[in-house]
Amino acid sequence: MDADSDVALDILITNVVCVFRTRCHLNLRKIALEGANVIYKRDVGKVLMKLRKPRITATIWSSGKIICTGATSEEEAKFGARRLARSLQKLGFQVIFTDFKVVNVLAVCNMPFEIRLPEFTKNNRPHASYEPELHPAVCYRIKSLRATLQIFSTGSITVTEMRPFLHRWSLGWPWDLC
């Protein structure tokens, strides 16, 4: 890497998963026939609808539960979910946008130093788990934040978290650890 690469440490949110309910029964066949950009998976009973504007893939179940993945921020996820609900409304369903909840947030961060994983695991015994034969990264679980960090020896860290607002807090942990 050269000296001209960016100095700042970027934490990139790569994926936000959210769920919401439409409070009405959805006819998957109708969505599959009349909706745009849909894939009907009849064997598992769901429809995949992909939006272009916030790049989102939504899994629609006939019970009215919808899971949206692929957003890069929480606001974008909500925006995309609302857009999806609107498109379902246009198809003729009595959709009510309720119970929106961000379920999972995935982010990637690069530390400016390499990390010696065996020593790291020894020093962080109960939380860190390292199996070089299975996976090249250390899996560090923060129970209080319900976050899982995958720490690679190159210094890149992947954070998966259930509560999105504490995302920035959980990324402070690698600094304390390393």
Partner: protein
């Protein structure tokens, strides 16, 4: 004597409860007259407490060891015997298996999972006693998939709440090297390829330590590195005869499987050795390449500490012994203590960016600048609102 009863024949009050087989009777002890008779048959509700209970509803199921559990325990013992483990390991592994079996998730699992569980219990026992056994070995012995094995292993570690230490590299080197069939001449192994075990072991250990120091082992499967190190050690002990032998042929001769990443590890190790050779004055003249450097591995290993420090201090490779220093200091200071930066050590790494100390006095994390010391990798001070560890 039941109160208030009188024999209708003789009028005595001496009535005795005397059952005739299954039938209860009230009999006068004087004249033998039967006063009353009990009912011969019993009703369904009377038999409530006498009825049979099915095995699944009884507590016998918990006390007795089920057939599949017995089979599993037998398999655990057999596996320990195959691996030639000490007898105490057997008991520990059996105990783990029984402990795991008490959980309903394991009890109701498929037979395939229970078979893999046998291997997991043995692996945990070996790890806890620092006995080097790889997951690959256990998977081949159990004819199981590594994916299934890893899934069950992670599940059981979580379920039993165990703290399993990681694989000890030094012991693994010893056992793995000893399994190479190169220490005795045989029809398939010509005399020039036979090697002394001790010499090869010590050299392999040194090469593996070198690989560990130069970041070739972290994050990777240990076995290919050890294979590459063994190969180099074997070649360097008699380079004139053995340079023509390839890694694949070596593994075939030694009757050992060649792991796929071993050739890339070999190239990486040779690159490290070449860098080290550039620091030695009498080798600089020779203009070594990856083949000829093998002849000088002995010398390089003798002076490896100084050579590694010199070779990787400046240039585009990482700083290894100083890295270790950095890591230790970083860990000590990462507790939130504030400390002034020490010295002007330039932090350069091939996998990280190189920058001067002036540029890097501030890093942006989460939208707020945090001053950090690049030498120690510690943060000078935390911004307001940063969570305390």
């Amino acid at each position: 004597m039941p109160g208030g009863g009188r024999c209708p024949d003789c009028g005595s009050t001496e009535l005795v409860e005397d059952s005739h087989y299954a039938q209860s009777q009230l009999v006068c002890s004087d004249c033998g007259c039967v006063v009353t008779e009990g009912v011969l048959t019993t009703t369904y509700s009377d038999e409530g407490n006498l009825r049979e209970v099915t095995y699944s509803r009884s507590t016998g199921e918990n006390e007795q060891v089920s057939r599949s559990q017995q089979r599993g325990l037998r398999r655990v013992r057999d596996l320990c015997r195959v691996l030639k483990l000490p007898p105490t390991f057997e008991d520990t592994a059996v105990a783990y298996y029984q402990q795991a079996y008490r959980h309903s998730g394991i009890r109701a699992a498929r037979l395939q999972k229970k078979e893999v569980l046998v291997g997991c219990c043995v692996l945990i026992t070996c790890r806890q006693h620092n006995w080097p056994v790889t997951m690959g070995t256990l998977c081949t012995l159990l004819y199981a998939d590594l994916d299934a094995f890893s899934g069950t292993y992670m599940q059981i570690v979580k379920l039993l709440g165990l703290d399993v230490p990681s694989l000890c590299l030094a012991d693994l080197v010893k056992t793995y090297c000893s399994s190479f069939k190169l220490f005795q001449p045989s029809p398939s192994v010509p005399a020039k390829y036979v090697e002394d075990k001790e010499k090869m072991l010590s050299r392999t250990q040194q090469l593996v330590e070198l690989a560990d120091e130069t970041w070739l082992v972290t994050g990777r499967h240990p076995l290919p590195v050890i294979t590459a190190a063994t190969f180099l050690a074997w070649q360097s002990l008699r380079p004139s005869d053995r340079l023509t032998c390839s890694l694949a042929r070596f593994c075939k001769l030694a009757n050992v499987d060649l792991p796929y990443p071993a050739s890339s590890r070999l190239q990486e190790l040779l690159a490290v050795l070449l860098r080290m050779a550039e620091q030695l004055a009498w080798l600089q003249v020779l203009k070594l390449n990856k083949r000829s450097v093998v002849k000088h591995i002995g010398d390089l290993l003798q002076h490896r500490r100084t050579l590694v420090r010199k070779a990787f201090r400046d240039g585009t490779a990482e700083t290894e012994p100083q890295e270790k220093e950095l890591q230790e200091q970083g860990q000590g200071q990462g507790q939130g203590k504030e400390e002034a930066p020490r010295g002007a050590l330039q932090f350069i790494g091939s996998r990280s960016w190189s920058r001067s100390q002036e540029e890097c006095s501030e890093a942006w994390v989460g939208g707020s600048p945090i001053p950090w010391c690049q030498r120690a990798g510690c943060i000078y001070s935390y911004p307001v609102g940063w969570p305390s560890s």
